[in-house]
Amino acid sequence: MVDFVALAYTQAVLGLQDYAYALIADFPHWVVAQAHGKSARNLGPLPAELLGNIQDALKFEKAVEGHRVTSDANIKQLVARAIATEAIDEATALMATFEDDFWLWASRVIDRDTPAGGAALSRLDEALHKWEMTLSALSTLFDQCEAVHRDVDDRWPDLSLDRLEARRAALQNRLRAPITMVATRVDVDMNPDRPDVFGWAFYRAHQDLLEDVLSDRTPVRADLEERLRGLVVATDRAGSRLRTTVQRQHYRVLGSLWSEPTLMLLQLSGVALVTGLARQRSDLLDVFERVWGELLDADAQHVLDAALAALVMDDALFGLSPGKINRSSRHLQAMAALEGMGLSRDDLEYGDLEESRPDLSTRLAAMLSHVAYSDFEDVFVATWLVPGARRRGAVLRDDALGARLTELIEVFSDATEGETRRQAEPYVAGPRGDGREGS
């Protein structure tokens, strides 16, 4: 039931978006045409009534004066005001419906932890995603309406969409924790009659965490650690589901597919490590270190072997797979965030970071240079996971490593255990030589 209502709500949001786009096209010329009797657009009640009145008024003055007196500019402004007023009112009412009526009901269903709750959650998430596009369409529409607002004494309603955007973002944030919870609890078995709730929640939770890591939000969200722990559990569940469902492939393809969830987690951790060090965000690094530290404390050898196996299996597949494309997209997102910090990809790949960014430690510069042409997964394993696992007594088997990974581990293995520990903490800029022992 909640699934269907959410779907209907999403349709309403999409309807508002379509309405805005329909009005944007050829605005304001169609307004004048419609005022002269042409049926150019299907309008809401308020502007439709206004246009009806304007049509009548134009007929009246034509009958009295023999010619038209009211100018096109006046007609455009009158109709633009009616359109903008109606659209902002509709959008506000639609958002209020979500917050006050729908969310309260849906959140109770979600808390029951059923497949229906998961499906409802996915619909809610979709509705909020559609809201983003609708707000963008409304923004364009309001810009066009304001462009024909000539008479400044004519007071218009507040057309700012900032508050609606903030409310949408707040709702989106409320969904993050429940989505991760669904990924950890919902039944992983696929039912052809139902949407794949687990698959959706797993990817959605990953994307949310990646956005949190890249956003440089201070402080980090309170539920970030809990969601990361949830994602570790979801990674195990995703791996086991893949092992039971994906079969009858070449063993290299199979290995690549099976290892995909682990690779995504390693990639996320690698992005957090690199951006956390570059931004000197000890709070973010602490969250990841605590979670991975507990995993290693429990069974360091198993965690290390699983991570290395995933990397090797990924290397073994020459070609494109859906997982690789997905990770490539996430990699680009991370590189764009680094570029936002003044670290352009060209500088990282071809430039001399020691000269262009003397404030970076040699170790971090090496990590950045590596991710410019390779993966965050490798960097995380080589710089943090391998030393951490070794410290806890795990043994690194050289025969299980590919050539690239072996070289990378060697590059970063010069550091002592104490130094490795320091990498996970905020980098404190010291004398130039302090941070350059790794190269």
Binding site: F60, V69, L78
Partner: protein, 247 residues
Amino acid sequence: MVTPLQPRVSMHAWALSAALETQNVNIRGKSAGLSAWMLGEDFDNRHYAYEMGLEYDGVDYQRGDHVISGLLRELGRHGREDAARLFPQLVSAVARDHLMYGRCMFELFEDADSDTPGPRLGVLPGWSLKHRWGGTFQATPRAGKLEWRRLPTTALIELRLPGRLGKELYRTRKFLQVLDAHRAGDPAVWATAQSTGYDFNTHRNSLDEMAARATKSIGWDGRELFLERATNSYRTYRRLQFLRAPG
């Protein structure tokens, strides 16, 4: 040859209005209908020349102002008024008389008892006048009866409006009077509209349109009574036209 001015023959407008004998005659002026009455009021209330000033040639300002305010003193409403304030009232009085009676006449006379030098203009209410056999007669109460007194032609001054404006005003008033008679104002009739099937909206729209057409030449907006369907732009257009019309 200059004809010397004679004492006043006509009766003062206020005294004429107050006399019981003239009440039946005066009804001409009162029965013009709501729209025509409002239009006449608007000529008084909306003057274009708020900032008008006078300059005198040959005499100093004080004497010039003295002479003109004496000439127009009957048009004032608050006793002695500045000449520059009386001029717009002269214009609206002329416009109003044309609107109501089709012409506007004054009697120019010498007032021996006046404290101001020069002649004076005596207001002749249009409803009290009758034009017969080439002469002008005024209804005058006399011993409880009404008699028509001939006014001396040489003392009468007729003021005209520019172009065809005078005729337009009179014609407009006639039209509005007819339309006023067809206004469906009775709520009981409105209430029966559904059962009778008569479309009062169409009725009203037609009347509004006719009223707007009737007042088109002078631009009066009818205090927006018949411009309910018009846009604000058109209403403003009409207001500006009206301010230009009687000048």
